[in-house]
């Protein structure tokens, strides 16, 4: 991905030749780059291993808490087969339900019904794609945007307000609502960017705090008549969106999939172009890799920081806007975020912070979400198992050495793998430590 962008990183690379240039204070921000590099370079084997491990852990949790398994395990030593059968039934049933809920319901009567779960997965994936792109873009600029929640809420408030309070011609209304929502998200993230650029406030803390500020601000707006609250109602909820502001359904009224999905796909292309083909994207990646080198190269670091954060917020704003204009059009409350702001982080990490990776990670997590609901409904397995599996996947992917150790894969991180030594006779006996010392002596 970053093959064409080696220019700004060259000073780092030469420093790193001496192994630990990381002690220098000015390379401090580089640890983000390192971490994401590690996530990206994990490779397919590690990704697959991480998914397998996480699903295995989920299976164990399901098996342990299943009533049938508990019953059968009370006479485990008499008939161990029963316990194993019960485990198989519990876990198999759970994953079958997950598949039926996420991809294709093979028990349905006709194809149109059977394919419905797949469209549901795509619907759930829509905000994850947009928000995941936002987080990924911030990652590439060396920043960690944990403020997805706040930016989603700001965007939902903006888009929703235009959506129900104004009367505009069809088409124009939708566009204005979307733009206002996106701008609101951008503005909310921009606060964090501006504070980082001007005062050096760490964006992690500021965005976390802005999440809460946005939440309480929205709660206030929703609870106050005349602002966002539906007239004549005591509930903290907005009125329903006007029909002119609602995103049209893609596959007809039978499915929930709306135009937002296409917008998210467009966003993938735009972000890919922005990061890899535009000068703004080059500046983003440059300050992400090494802000000092970027400054020497003539990039205005504070301005780029704000711009990157604003763009990130705009993408998350798109997620918030499509939620209120596409999925939940009957009016929303302060729970409109539904965990997407935080899921976006895991999506961006899993997708290796590149647009296409984010797309696939979002589709996977969207499927998990859709399938998890179905699993909860039919197998009475709490949907939170999905959270566990998702977070374990990311945790394992972030630590490739652990996954490699579990599956006994080769460790490419080693400075000197024994295989590289040509003369086999001497390497047979020497330990790796001696190996490096001889290398130094030469």
């Amino acid at each position: 991905m970053s093959g064409s962008t080696q220019q700004p990183t060259t000073p780092v690379v030469t420093d790193a030749g001496g192994d630990d240039a990381a002690k220098l204070p000015d390379t401090r921000d580089n640890r983000w780059g390192d971490a994401f590099q590690r996530v990206v370079s994990g490779g397919w084997a590690v990704s697959l291993g991480a998914v397998v491990l996480a699903v295995l852990a989920g299976s164990i949790m399901i098996a342990f808490t299943d009533e049938g398994v508990q019953e059968a395990s009370s006479y485990f030593f008499a008939r161990p087969g029963d316990t194993l059968a019960a485990i198989g039934q519990a876990v198999g049933g759970a994953y079958a339900a997950l598949f039926r809920g996420a991809v294709y319901d093979f028990r349905a009567d006709d194809f149109a019904t059977g394919i419905r779960p797949l469209t549901q997965s795509l619907t759930y994936a829509t905000p994850l794609i947009a928000a995941g792109l936002g987080v990924a873009l911030a990652f590439r600029a060396g920043m960690f945007n944990i403020g997805g929640l706040g930016q989603m809420l700001a965007a939902a408030a903006g888009a929703g307000w235009v959506g129900f309070a104004f009367d505009l011609p069809p088409g124009v209304h939708l566009v204005v609502a979307l733009v206002v929502g996106i701008l609101a998200g951008a503005l909310w993230a921009g606060i964090a960017g501006l504070l980082k650029a001007t005062t050096g406030a760490h964006e992690v803390i500021v965005t976390i705090m802005l999440n809460y500020v946005a939440f309480y601000l929205l709660s206030y707006l929703l609870a106050t008549p005349g602002l966002l609250q539906a007239p004549g109602s005591a509930n903290p909820k907005t009125p329903r969106m006007k029909d002119t502001a609602v995103l049209p359904d893609l596959l007809g009224p039978r499915y929930a999939l709306h135009l937002g999905f296409l917008l998210a796909l467009v966003a993938v292309v735009v972000v890919w172009w922005l990061l890899n083909r535009s000068s703004a994207g080059f500046a983003f990646r440059a300050i992400g890799e090494n802000p000092h080198a970027a400054r020497v190269a003539g990039i205005h670091v504070p301005r780029t920081t704000v711009l990157a954060m604003v763009t990130s917020g705009a993408l998350i704003g798109l997620a918030g806007s499509t939620q209120v204009l596409g999925l939940i059009t009957t009016g929303f409350g302060s729970d409109i975020d539904a965990g997407i702001g935080f899921d976006a982080i895991t999506v961006a990490l899993l997708g290796g912070s590149n647009p296409v990776g984010v797309l696939f990670a979002s589709l996977l997590f969207g499927a998990f979400k859709a399938g998890g609901s179905a699993m909860q409904a039919s197998q009475r397995i709490p949907i939170e198992i999905v959270l566990v599996v998702q977070s374990l996947i990311v945790l394992f992917i972030a630590a490739p050495p652990l996954v490699r150790a579990v599956f006994r894969l080769p460790q490419p991180d080693r400075k000197r793998p024994p295989r590289r030594r040509p003369d086999a006779a001497t390497t047979q006996d020497t330990a790796t430590t001696q190996d490096t010392t001889t290398a130094v002596e030469r």
């Binding site: 192994d19 401090r28 500021v206 309480y216």
Partner: protein, 429 residues
Amino acid sequence: MTTLAPVPDQAVVEHRHVTVVSWKATIGFGIVTVLFALLLLLAPRAGNAAFRLATEGDLFTLPDLSVPGMATAWVCVAIMAGLVGVVAALSARGRKVPLWVPVLFAVVFLFGFLAWAAAGSDRDVPFVRLIGGSVLLAVPIVFGALGGVIGERAGVVNIAIEGQLLAGAFTAAVVGSITDSPWLGLLAAIVSGVLVAAVLALFAIKYRVNQVIVGVVLNVLVIGLTSFFYSQVLVPSAEQLNDTTRFDRIAIPVLSKIPVIGPALFNQTVVVYLMYVAVPAVWFALSRTRWGLRVRAVGEHPKAADTVGIKVERTRWRAVLIAGGVAGVGGAFYTVVSVSSFGKEMTAGAGFIALAAVIFGNWDPIRAALAALLFGFASNLEGALSIVGAPVPSQFMLMLPYVVTILAVAGLVGRSRAPAAAGQPYVKE
């Protein structure tokens, strides 16, 4: 003299001190004062504000304090303005602002705010309950913040405080219910806090994964795990697994009879008294013991620490595990002190407020604990204001800690400096 002009000039150059005068604190305090004065100007409220100070069983009964609301508020503005002057004078001389100035500023501001809010109301402000409730609300935040301070001073950023609190609350509920003993519940909470910390340390120290990423993911993991087991295991058999015996309140003989602060501070449970001990203990351990010196050394400059023979990774591991245990105590508060059962995501972001308190308290245990108290007070104020029918929407009171933290992080309120090596894994050469 004039002929020797160059000589003294050179001498002046030799002795000149270069002091960086920071006006950020002055500006920050000034902004708060001006905003408060504007509030009084734009929304004046007539009438008296009454504070109920007495509770039953005091050594001597204080009369209710009734003051003219607006006049009191303006006096508070004057005192605040005076404190801004003090801060400005200290900053101009390049001196540090001592701790009592911001503490006094906060107390005066809050008192003035209460006087304004309660003016003209026919209900009293329940002062004792307000303070007692604030202390209680602050308990998990204080323990979380102490855990955060220990971890960050050792160079490991702990975003997973929320997860440690939640894990502590969950295990305290389960173990406390099974054994029917709050003490064992507390112990279990400590163990689970250490376990979460061990995962953090494994990934952050051993595998050198970005610490913020591990922390964020760990929070999600713990939320997922506890919610899953709550729905799947605790709800079906709530009586056996999710019904704890809580700690009893213990009134300390003489101290609890002192008016106002007695019933608020000294008629509490063991966990609260543990907090009174823990704050100075952590301060002492970090700043006056050999262990503390080593912890701070690996957090500020791990390479230097390594050079003099301190085992960086081992020191960090220990510090992170201890920090997890401390945060776990805070988690126990939810299920063996506050209420007697666990609920989904019951910590509700306290871990993040604790993180804010760490930063607001400038990575110092005592300041962080004071910040946590302030946040506890701000969240408790909402209840008191709704009693007197104040015109401030509760959401804005709840928002206050977070806004204050943003200001603090932006450097408007004093200077905040993280330990130099916080967040950086140490790679030995």
